[in-house]
């Protein structure tokens, strides 16, 4: 029902640079990730020449996750971060790997099984905008390269704030605005020309990767995202630029 109402009201959102209907976007995003799920890790490595491992590692340091804690990795895709957290929280802790996309979770589960880290790990298929967890139940939430895919980012941030325990923290790792203009130019070339072609080569799916590149450009810059986190009720918000601001990690605390 709501579907129709929204469609009728003509509420729109950005799908990359095409403006589409909000409901359509969820379907489109899912389509993009369905088609790349299997090759995603390979692509990820190629796209950022392995540098994303550094970004993720620093994000994990900032989480300061301790044994016994409950960690939720939203848009966790193929389980990169979840595997590390599983080791950090130990047997008394819990890691929830959440993603809207079933095929991403399947790839994640297989990979995590291979790495032997499953005892304290659970997969949850859900939407970042409506997280199906009790209020104040999570010590730490991470979302890495996922927020840009979410239709209503404010709604997602509020949903995250709700389920965090007081003092719990949210970490958002995301492409951002390069601080150096020359760098920005090169990066644009890279993301608009090279990424889609690589997508075509490896996956036969240039559209998916063009979408990724465009959604990077559409993502809010450092200070905008910081403001959005504050609006969602988080406190002590801060960010760290990495690799010239191509990527930033934002952190906020639940009051």
């Amino acid at each position: 029902m709501t579907d129709k109402t929204n469609a009728a009201s003509g509420e729109t959102t950005d799908f990359g640079f095409e403006t589409v209907n909000k409901n359509e976007k969820e379907g489109l995003v899912r389509g993009v990730f369905d088609s790349v799920a299997n090759r995603y890790d390979l692509m990820n490595d190629l796209m950022s020449a392995g540098i994303h491992r550094l970004w993720k590692r620093f994000t994990i340091e900032l989480s300061a996750v301790r044994p016994g804690q409950t960690v939720l990795d939203i848009a966790g895709g193929t389980g990169d971060l979840a595997a590390k957290f599983s080791r950090l929280v130990g047997d008394n802790g819990q890691v929830l790997l959440a993603d809207i996309n079933d095929s991403m979770l399947k790839v994640g589960r297989d990979r995590l099984l291979d790495s032997g880290a499953v005892g304290n790990l659970h997969m949850v298929q859900c939407d970042a905008q409506m997280l199906p967890f009790p209020d104040a139940s999570i010590d730490c939430i991470t979302i890495a390269f996922g927020l840009r895919n979410v239709t209503d980012k404010d709604m997602a941030l509020r949903s995250m704030e709700r389920i965090l325990k007081p003092g719990g923290r949210l970490l958002v790792l995301e492409f951002s605005k390069p601080v150096n203009p020359i760098f920005e130019k090169i990066y644009d070339t890279y993301s608009f020309r090279v990424l889609p072609l690589m997508g075509q080569l490896f996956n036969n799916d240039a559209d998916s990767y063009r979408y990724l590149a465009e959604s990077i450009r559409k993502h809010p810059d450092q200070d905008t995202l910081l403001g959005m986190m504050e609006d969602a009720g988080l406190v002590n918000c801060e960010y760290h630029n990495m690799t010239g601001g191509i990527v930033a990690v934002h952190r906020g605390i639940k009051a």
């Binding site: 020449a49 540098i51 550094l54 970004w55 590692r57 620093f58 340091e61 900032l62 300061a64 760098f183 090169i186 070339t189 890279y190 020309r193 090279v194 072609l197 690589m198 080569l201 760290h240 630029n241 990495m242 690799t243 010239g244 990527v247 990690v249």
Partner: protein, 214 residues
Amino acid sequence: MNTHHDPAIITAVLMAAEGAINRGLELDPASARDLADLSGTVLAIECWAPALEVFAIVEPEGRLHLTPYCEQACSVRVRGGLNDYLALTTAEDPAVTLINSDLEIIGNSAPLIALQTLVAKMQPDWEAPLVGVLGDVAGHQLANLLRQIFQWGEASSKSFRRQLSEFILEEGRLSPPAAELEYFYQEIDSLVLKVDRLESRLKRLAQRLKTPAR
């Protein structure tokens, strides 16, 4: 925190150094056991000029974790300027120098000495992982530097201090980001080239397909 440096670069260097140490430990189970005895030790190394803070955490399995960010309580914190650290690296007897130097040691110095002795004994291969991260020149220099730090006293060359301060003040600040950027640019350059070639090949192919067979 380390606000003046790109966390991705510091992380890269620390990951490389950590990798070298932990690989050394894998090859030397006795040292790994000794290290495991220090499990839970958090050593903070703080330098105020250039401003940098690094933590070495001993993990239960006898591995070392190096990080630019840590919220755990430190067992021991060393604090000083670059020159104080330099003095330490060229000292005859590090333990004595440590106690008498201007370096401020907050907490128990025993695990600090134990750690240094352990890593020195292991002689990890710093070169390969650091060259991998920083490129030939800077990687080699930093590898040299680490070798000296962990074998302080043994090799106290005259020019070492000068070399070291040059590295940290010049290379250390400028070169890693430069190396990283350069690498990134190179990757892009070669990709753009490949893409261009591919595009024209595809076009030629398409053209050939379109041309009706005679």
